[in-house]
């Protein structure tokens, strides 16, 4: 069983390689299989998920501590695989640019999240984030090279800052091993020289999570970007960054004051700013991106409590966020470009409309969906830690987010569909049994996440304990 622990990663990378190589060296076969490739990729991801759930329960350390398999890794990897499988299956493939590329990059992005989740040291964390971000950028570059270039430059700078910050921490602690670091940092004074590089590292993580500054990566939400590239940027890239944040905050727990205030400020800005931005924008795809950003703020707020209830709740919420933020834009298809084109989707594409509504409501934290359960759990942890100012900020952001989500849902169900001639060239998402099934699966997964909140939250709490938090 131990040998199978990292089989899911192997399956995912091999799947991505097969898809890319098949398109390059067997174009005729690739064309013939064109309609079935998304099935194939979704099946690969689901097989990887199955193996992860079966073999991933074996806790252990590999490659001299370079990779670890703990409850947190199991949780984060399973969330990423499920989210990617649904996104690939539900995507509106006719509007994606390159089938092979658009199938391989989500798998690589999911692989990046898995690497980050299994990382035993700083190098693994950094590498995982960069792999996910690179996959997202590559997807974005297919249609928005200008935006991708800007993100590449900004992301490169962020990556360098992250690496620099982590290197300084390594020099201070004398180890890059995340579990060992807690022990080494115990008793170390939280000084200003340590605060600055840690703040830089968290700043770059916040950038990768599309948190701050929101407007830099906001271009990925804009209409010209393909829906699946938005999924990667708002969903998987953010998930990788937040997974890194969970691991690093756990490792740096003994010197919590060096990042606590910074994390709280980012959380407040993101919760309120994300909700306000979601309310201000009109395009549904941008709205879902900002809603995801606002919910990321709740995750950071949970992490700022520095104890296992807060981190466990944040991990639970992270799972819900990953699924909704990754699959939501994919389900939306090209219609997310403008508000008017979404009108009447509930009549025209009922499966997609239901799934999208649930994603929006979950990201907004509306009851009784997964996001609400996660945010409530984080709120209880914040209350337990006496952080009522963070709680108040989150609640304000929550009101804004729910209002924004209801604004889009009313379009789906309460407006009549607009005529084809007024769609400005934007076609309805494709309808097939496969895509409809994926949308239904998403519509089942989000309520099921709250229905089975007890075991999932239990696993999330075990995750936090696995990271060394008590």
């Amino acid at each position: 069983m131990r040998a199978l622990t990292f089989l899911p990663e192997v399956i995912v990378v091999a799947g991505a390689a097969i898809v890319l190589l098949n398109a390059r060296f067997r174009p005729a076969f690739h064309r013939r299989m064109r309609t079935r490739l998304p099935w194939f990729v979704a099946a690969i991801l689901l097989v990887a998920l199955g193996v992860e759930l079966w073999a991933g329960a074996t806790v252990g350390s590999y490659y001299n501590g370079g990779l670890v398999q703990d409850r947190f890794a199991l949780f984060a990897k399973a969330s990423a695989l499920l989210a990617t499988a649904i996104a690939v299956a539900a995507a509106d493939w006719p509007v994606e640019d390159s089938l092979s590329f658009s199938l391989a990059m989500p798998m690589l992005a999911a692989f990046g999240v898995m690497v980050t989740a299994s990382a035993g040291d700083f190098i693994g964390v950094w590498a995982g984030i960069e792999v996910t971000a690179a996959a997202g950028l590559a997807m974005l570059a297919l249609r928005r090279p200008d935006q991708a270039m800007r993100l590449l430059l900004a992301g490169g700078a962020a990556g360098a800052l992250l690496l620099g910050g982590l290197a300084y921490v390594y020099a201070t602690a004398g180890t890059a091993d995340l579990l060992e670091m807690r022990r080494m940092l115990t008793g170390v004074a939280p000084t200003l020289p340590l605060t600055i590089p840690v703040a830089l590292a968290f700043g770059s993580i916040a950038f990768r999570a599309s948190l701050s500054p929101l407007q830099v990566s906001g271009g990925a939400f804009a209409p010209p970007a393909s829906p699946l590239s938005t999924s990667l940027v708002t969903g998987l890239s953010a998930a990788a960054a937040l997974v890194a944040a969970v691991k690093i905050t756990a490792a740096l727990g003994p010197v919590g004051p060096v990042f606590g205030t910074f994390l709280e400020v980012v959380a407040v800005v993101t919760m309120i700013g994300g909700g306000a931005a979601a309310l201000a924008v009109r395009a549904p795809r941008a709205r879902i991106g900002f809603l995801a950003a606002a919910q990321s703020g709740w995750v950071l707020a949970g992490l700022s409590t520095h104890y296992h209830a807060g981190t466990g709740s944040a991990v639970f919420l992270l799972g819900a966020l990953t699924i909704a933020a990754t699959a939501g834009p994919a389900v939306m298809g090209a219609l997310g470009a403008s508000e008017a084109t979404m009108a009447g989707l509930g009549t025209l594409r009922p499966h997609r409309a239901v799934a999208l509504s649930l994603c929006l409501l979950s990201l907004a934290g509306a009851p009784p969906l997964a996001g609400f359960f996660g945010e409530f759990a984080v709120a209880s942890a914040l209350a337990g830690a006496g952080r009522f100012e963070l709680l108040a900020a989150g609640l304000l952001g929550g009101i804004l987010s729910v209002t924004a989500a209801v604004g889009t849902i009313r379009l789906l169900y309460l407006y009549n569909p607009i005529e084809e001639s007024r769609r400005a060239g934007i076609v309805l998402p494709v309808w097939s049994r496969f895509s409809a099934g994926a949308a239904v699966l998403l519509a089942v997964v989000i309520p099921a996440y709250s229905l089975f909140a007890n075991p999932i939250l239990g696993l999330a709490f075990q995750s936090a304990e696995g990271l060394g938090l008590r």
């Binding site: 509306a366 409530f376 759990a377 337990g384 009522f388 304000l396 209002t403 309460l414 239990g458």
Partner: protein, 533 residues
């Protein structure tokens, strides 16, 4: 009757009375059935195909008979409720999120049983009032049933997590109902409702979290979280948050900003649901969490609560007198019963609290009746302008009668159930809030003037020859208004329920007054210095 009530609540010692048929029907998950059946039916309605509205009538019937079935189940629960027991009944306890101490804990005591019956009745009446809905019938009734699920869930919850969940969830279906089927200014109405109720949800969550943290951060179960003594300062903070939550939902001045637009623009069935049961949750939370569990906070802030109630009644009367739109007038007047309920709670005496509990039921009926009647008048007269409406009574006699009954219901005249609840509230509050009692009396006098002026102008004045054509109520409108008026009269005439002649055995209705007493002595115990076993 009032004397009996006064005696009963000064030393409430209810005793078991044999009810024919009691114990015939038992169900382990009775409350869950009441909560989740509408949700399941809503889901079914939402997914069944309805090409070109072919099954619109069937959908209406399904919604109606679902509510009828629910009312039947609730009536059984009401009949078999053991009013001599002070503890929670029909309890269901399933661990939900043990990591944070949240339990799927349902249960009802006397006050919640009263609200549960109110919710069931309002469910039927809201469906009847929605008979005129012609567009997207499937979505409408699915959302209406979901909204009902939220209200019933909040009433039956005995865990602060479950309460918050249902309380917050009610916003979405109601906002969508207004957005989809409202009048010309529906967007403004829906966003105002979302904004105000959203603030209320945030305030409630803050209060719940403060209680949770103050009680050791182990459980949201009301039996644990509300039984631990918080520091007085924390109680005051919790009380302030709860007052904001209640004031946005009920609503009370100055958090009433959504009332005018919502009661004017929402479809009539939604108005009935909001005014009748959804808004009563505000006062219910105030009673359940603040008055029953945070006595220090309640004592400190009771003058503030009484003051808000007084200002709300006076404001409602003056605003209704000055408005030029009859639907706005109905919305303002619907504020009055809620303010009286809250005033009863501010009294912090057993009689005042009992009056407030009865007022939850009677106030819900009266608010729904006045808002619904004025809305229907404007529909049938084809105008909302008070200046145009005149001398309608001869041309719409049924509606005129029902509107007069609505006005009497708001005022609380004898034979109306609001009379009993108002009197109990006043008598209960006179000792502890004398200035407030005079203020409320003054406010009610203004309400009477306002109603008299409105009725004289709209119903009994000289007919306006330039006004649009007028028609009387349709069958469904007559039924929904008559049911509301009938419930007010029934409880007003036999608050203790009808008895088999010559005996003390209840006939089929044990009586709201008898059912609601369970747990009231316990709620009032901190203010009387007594402890209950």
């Amino acid at each position: 009757m009032i004397a009996a009530a006064l005696h009963g609540f000064s030393a409430a010692t209810p005793s078991p009375a044999p009810i024919p048929g009691a114990g015939l029907f038992t169900a382990s998950y009775l409350l869950s059935i009441c909560i989740w059946i509408p949700a399941v039916v809503a889901l079914v309605i939402a997914v069944i195909p309805n090409p070109r509205g072919r099954y619109d009538t069937v959908i209406r019937q399904v919604a109606f008979f679902t509510n009828l079935l629910l009312m039947f189940v609730m009536f059984i629960a009401y009949n078999q409720f053991e009013s001599f027991l002070p503890n929670v009944q029909y309890e269901e306890k399933i661990p939900w999120l043990p990591q944070i101490g949240a339990i799927y804990h349902l249960g009802v005591d006397g006050p919640s049983m009263v609200l549960l019956i109110l919710s069931g009745l309002i469910g039927i009446i809201a469906v009847l009032a929605s008979a005129g809905v012609r567009e997207r019938v499937r979505s409408y009734f699915a959302l209406l049933l979901l909204a009902q699920t939220c209200v019933t869930g909040a009433v039956a919850s005995h865990d602060l997590f479950v309460l918050t969940l249902f309380w917050a969830a009610a916003i979405i279906p109601i906002a969508l109902l207004i957005l989809g089927w409202g009048g010309p200014r529906r967007e403004a109405a829906a966003w105002r409702l979302t904004g105000y109720w959203g603030v209320g949800v945030a305030a409630l969550l803050l209060a719940v979290m403060a209680i949770y943290a103050g009680s050791g951060g182990t459980s949201f179960d009301m039996d644990v979280a509300l039984k631990s003594a918080l520091a007085p300062r924390t109680q005051v903070i919790v009380a302030l948050a709860l007052i904001v939550a209640a004031a946005t939902r009920l609503p009370l001045f100055p958090f009433h900003g959504w009332v005018r637009d919502v009661y004017a623009e929402a479809p009539i069935g939604v108005i009935v649901l909001i005014a009748g049961s959804a808004t009563r949750l505000g006062a219910y939370v105030l009673m359940r969490v603040l008055v029953a569990a945070e006595p220090d906070g309640a004592r400190v802030l009771s003058p503030l609560i009484a003051g808000i109630a007084v200002v709300t009644v006076i404001y409602a009367a003056v605003a209704a007198m000055r408005t030029a739109d009859i639907r706005h007038a109905g919305g303002y007047l619907a504020l009055v019963p809620g303010a009286i309920t809250v005033f009863g709670l501010a009294a912090l005496t057993p009689l005042g609290i009992a009056g407030a509990v009865l007022s939850l039921f009677t106030g819900g009926m009266a608010a729904a009746l006045i808002a619904g009647a004025f809305h229907t008048v404007s529909d049938r007269a084809q105008t909302r302008a008070v200046a145009v409406l005149s001398g309608l009574a001869p041309r719409m006699p049924k509606l005129a009668w029902l509107t007069v009954l609505a006005a009497l219901g708001v005022l609380g005249v004898p034979l109306m159930a609001t009379f009993t609840s108002n009197e109990m509230t006043f008598f209960g509050a006179f000792k502890t809030q004398p200035v407030g009692a005079f203020g409320i009396a003054l406010g009610l006098a203004l309400v009477a003037i306002s109603l008299a002026v409105l009725l004289q102008r709209v119903m009994f004045g000289r007919p306006n020859p330039d006004a649009p054509a007028v028609s009387d109520t349709s069958l469904s409108e007559t039924w929904y208004l008559a049911l509301l008026a009938g419930a007010l009269l029934w409880v007003g005439i036999v608050p203790g329920g009808p008895k088999i002649p010559g005996t003390d055995v209840p006939l089929f209705d044990p009586g709201i007054m008898n059912v609601m007493v369970a747990d009231i002595p316990e709620i009032a115990a901190p203010y009387t210095g007594t402890t209950t076993p």
